[in-house]
Symmetry: D3
Subunit: 316 residues, 6 copies
């Protein structure tokens, strides 16, 4: 089947050729054909802190995604051979209308999940995690969350990229016993930015913790907290140092290396990953596409984890 | 039909959303469904003079093509309503193998033309005009050529972007009585760069001519030379001044304005445009996408000319 | 007075030194001290068409504004010597909340105008013209509008940068007998994009008209239509060709030169300019600041027109 | 008081809004109101080695400084609540006249220090450290120096950014028993570049030392050498690897990570920091502002150290 | 001879290959071998107005100079076949020491001229024209000057790029009856910026004059004023609009097109061009090298004029 | 001798001045004068995977090479004082003709080696290693290879940058017992990309291995495998993380730091380095030149190793 579609999009084997669906997978909204729907959410109306521009991120990630080739070295798996992955296109967003966007993303995500298809979402700013978690919680109940980020995203105020995790927690979408934040750092508004996440239940790993204790410790703690729960990965690229991810909405120095991020995700092997988003890529600042390439590689790690989980279930 | 496909690619109405097929048209290789096939030719192996990078041009043009919306103000026509236009994806090229590329582009172009479908090719460097003209000449005989370019492209030597028009002429693919060059300028290797094009039959309009005599004179001369002949448009973006088209393979100062280029193409209304290529966009140098947007607009002008020709035939 | 303030901000005479208030003028909200308030409106929530990023424009324009030095060659006037110009800082905007922004910009603009102070607004995307015109129309009644733009901005739909002029007209903020659009061009959604502006009363000058008939004709027509009416200038940078203004939200090829824009504004000498906005600068795409410098020069032209109007009144 | 000033500059809470004084603090030259004066020194006449452009650095740092919000996570302190920090604007420099600049910077720094106000200087190239140290030594005698840098800056020759530390040492401005260099590396002119700093008394930590022995060792050695002495921090951004600080005057590969720099500064808690400069930011090369953001964060670390020192004194 | 040298530098025929001497000419300081010495003057210590960075210009121009190929279309001449042109390398400058630079450039220029060799200087900022004119005036007496520039460069104050023409005039280096300024425009400090050049004798053509009266009128006036006098061309790239020359030290909107500049220089055919400088290129801002390419083309026009003058003398 | 040549190229001591031969060394093809020939190979016809542009790399590396000054801190050696190093210019390549390029590079490399001169090659894409190894193996027999790279370069298919090491191995140019790959990582086409290199004999160190086991372990293993064999270094810049080397043809996240690369090369002290290439620099993506500067530093490390080897032999 894929060969035929590949022909349709003229892809050949050149990473820079053809119509850039995600990893050259079939573009379809026929959910019966899919196990995983890669969806773009080109919305940056929630990027209130500093830069806008994340609306261009889904296109930027699709453009570089053919560089992912297909076989995962460390896990020795070809995710696209295990899972039927398709490019669902972009969800409907309204650039000037936050509440309409919140609703349409929620509805469309619900539709996908109800069909038994998992979502790998390419943001958009981090605000888009709320409607996704609403749909996920409808299906799975409160979720375990691995939250890679420089910021706790627990600010007060209405729905935007700085309040989104607090809102999700307050709505009961997150299992507070299984909420891990990794990569946290940087100047704050006040001490409340430290106490609030903890009060809400988040287990916080600053980059200082990551550097001093090592990623193995992070992984062990995360695995213990998450256990067999359905796990949602919310991956904000600003968890990485601006050296590795210059093109994010709100850069913070002193961040993770790209390798640390890969280590962390690879360390989640065997956990029950049910969905993920990759957010805050801001392409106008990505002079050599390195942030987009990092985002694409995170997506590939997610697909590998999903494929491993599928194989584990099948093998049982 | 298109609505459904649009759904499939999740495009909505946002210029930055969805999977970027050319102008959001259906991605298909079913030639029965098409009047015009937009094809990418991501080849820069013929860019011997200065910069490489044109391989990335088809993707860059597709990315900005939703900005073309659809209705042409000056011609008062919606080309996509008149013609069935589809995105055929990219033709097969071999980045390290010139002769293989020459052959596959020729064969695939022939296949499209034999189905009665016209080609709007997005290069690639200018060398890709040769295999396209071979296919066109098989179908139409020697063609009238409007050749927008800073350079005559009549250098000696093997097939590349600097010799391509000479080779096409020597192979009899060009009707020497209807070959118009517009935008010619810049330092040369020798006087032969002036005498050769003329000897081969080209009618040469330098940018100096264009500026001093006006585009109306160029248009009148072109229309007279071309007449009812089948017309192929070979549009090298370096015809434009680097101010308007900085991201080209071989920039030359003192070029055309974007408006002059639009004027020229609009002035060809009613001529029998049967095919076109837009070449030499070099995206790594296009810091604000302005060259890609110009390239996309040239493509839109070509589609409008094709639609006008279709309407003229239908109306007859 | 200014000398002292200058000292306070450490500006000296270096264009790159000191704290960048607009043209090194005093930063104040004491309206008694001002004739003209330069205000930033860092809002890009209305930029629905393509790029976001205009939120960074006020800062970018302030940064380059010391390059304006102070004396206007063609008008032989030093606007800052005629008018008391101050930097009012930015108006309050809510990046994720359109209706709140619409309200606060309106209220703050009203406050300024009620104090008898004129506004020179640095956008932001073009949507910010609506709350400004609401405040202006409260004070002056329907205004004459010189609308420099590639787009008519008369699309249907809710308040954003593509519908803003239609809404202003429908609300009666614009005098339909004195609404001049200059720089219009580019692909459209449908023929309605041509008929709607005309139906609403706009006098449309495409760039084609500007190039073929000359700016003197535009100026004459504008002066005749506007006459002694209070005149508001809404200057969208995309009226200029991307060569001259690459860093705009929605670039359109075939636009005006920077010189044509200067000619047009200088041609309005003596008209009763009461306010202005300069919108759609998108700094992330401004690799050599040339669009910001153009924006700053437009601001300087506006100040010169205001100063000339002041001198004319004083001299009467 | 600050609320009122904040209003005056229209800052609100948006990092990209308002007139960019440093961290939105009041712009003033009334030294009675200040404990710390943030001063810009937009001079790059001493950047003889490679790139010029550091003159634009003060503006670039101010522009991103609102991203520092205000509360320091690791030290649990809000420096702006402890210290009265103001933006003093830029010191007077003469771009084409080194000796005049040396004099005016010295004089203006002396004025600030005599008022009992500490200086946080935003360079400019590294040469500006000499006039600052002259003023500091007048007040404090020879200073302990933490010198973060890739280069020893002890070259022979007249005053510029490559000789500045040697000159300061030879003038007796530096306490040779408390001069720590961290981040040193890279190709040299000759072996003298190794022997000279040591001969002059500097304790040299190469990046190799930092990587192999760890920042804790650097911190311990620095604390021991510095003790209770008045400490001046001279922070050259090229101490960081170009990955973390691409936009510096003279990049050297193999440098520190941003986290190592933060670690080092945080490790100085309790020392008696009396002044600092942050130099060699070269904004034209800072495509995603990441070097400017790093520079701003170093400034925030300095303010936190000054605030901690103040609290320690007050608490005693 | 050249073939052998060409081999030495491995240039072949690729514009991007080999060691970039200017136009692949021999690198030599043996003045006996030369008619024209191309010299770099990598000095930006006189760039006091806005951006520094012109020190990188000679290298940037050399890098793109192979694109000049060799044969001039309009003049039908191959300058390198008429004149012995060599790359003399860079003159000695002292980045932190204006007076030393003024002296060494003067001395080295004198040495070249005394050998009967003409200079084509690649700046550097515009200040470098003063030492060059000193050397030229020693040899030729006061010179006719074609001064292409946005700015009159007649500000008061010490030697820098804003005062250089005033100083040259006051020192008697310029023949006041044959000093033509073309491209003048932009905001000024005061009316004196208009009256001073005229008082000093300059014939001023603003860009407004150029656009309205045409370059033919400029050329005619220039030729009449200059006549048979030895003519020095001082070509500041900011005469061009930032669209055509974004990478200059002090951009001014409303400038010349690149074609107008070429027209002007070509119109000087037959005049006695004895020397030239091309200044104010600021490479860090030249994202697609278009300003460097324009600078190189101006250099080629100068060489063509020198060659034509040589042929005229030989033919006499 | 060098002083004289230095004069000839006008270099002085400014890193940005003069004609950029590599490290200001004499440009010569007189092999009698040289111990090491630095050669450019401006070929990117083998860059089939993603980006083209490596053709511009030799020029970019030469441009920044004066920053290498000359004395190596860690080895305490001045390589240019031990070895006679010259800039040989570029080898002959044919941008559109792979087989011709393969032949001419081979022939010219053979000529250099037969003269007893070692080669330090500045690519070009990685394909250029094949003709170099052919020439080296003719002289030395199968070589020990330190292969720094993200990719094994053992893909099937014709000669290009993805197959080059496999071809070299199959041709017997590599000693399979002394082939070390360091930096390997990233998504693969299939498991064969893991098994093939091992089957061919390569000792593979992924970046994961490097990070977890430390560079000392890599160095020890490499030294043991290589022993006294003649050693060729093939240094693909994509071994480094895109943070450190953004401007490469095929970026892979999770790579080495620049310091790790320096460590590795310094650890080879005493081995018999006979040649090296530095490949895959892609300058159009190098916004702050940091990848070019890294490439130049690798070249300097190679020269230091060659000089150390020379000293060791002389000392014996």
């Amino acid at each position: 089947m894929k060969g035929e579609d590949l022909l349709a999009y003229g892809a050949d084997l050149l990473a820079y050729g053809g119509i850039p669906t995600f990893m050259r997978q079939v573009a379809t909204r026929d959910l019966e054909k899919l196990d995983v729907a890669v969806v773009g959410i080109p919305y940056d109306g929630g990027a209130t802190s500093y830069r806008s521009g994340a609306r261009l991120a889904p296109r930027a990630i699709r453009n570089v995604s053919p560089l992912l080739w297909g076989f995962h070295r460390e896990h020795a798996i070809a995710p696209l051979g295990v899972l039927r992955v398709g490019d669902y296109g972009d969800l409907h967003v309204s650039p000037g209308d936050a509440s309409a966007t919140l609703e349409t993303v929620h509805q469309e995500a619900r539709t996908i999940l109800r069909a038994g298809v998992q979502i790998l979402a390419l943001g958009g700013d981090h605000s888009i995690t709320l409607p996704l978690l609403r749909a996920y919680a409808e299906r799975y109940g409160p979720l375990a969350i691995l939250h890679l980020d420089a910021h706790a995203d627990t600010w007060p105020g209405p729905w935007d990229h700085s309040s989104v995790l607090r809102l999700a927690r307050e709505e009961g979408l997150i299992d507070p016993t299984a909420w891990i934040q990794v990569g946290i750092r940087g100047p704050l508004w006040s001490e409340a930015d430290i106490t609030t996440p903890t009060r809400l239940g988040a287990q916080v790993w600053t980059t200082g913790d990551c550097h001093s204790r090592g990623m193995a410790a992070v992984i062990a703690a995360a695995r213990e907290a998450i256990g067999p729960r359905p796990l949602y990965l919310s991956l904000d690229l600003d968890a990485f140092d601006p050296a590795f991810a210059p093109a994010v909405g709100t850069p913070e120095v002193g961040g993770l290396t790209s390798y640390q991020g890969l280590q962390l995700l690879r360390g989640l092997k065997g956990l029950r990953v049910v969905g993920a988003d990759i957010v805050e890529l801001c392409p106008p600042y990505d002079s050599a596409e390195i942030t987009a390439i990092l985002a694409a590689n995170l997506a590939f790690e997610v697909l590998a984890l999903m494929a491993l989980a599928r194989e584990a279930r099948s093998g049982a």
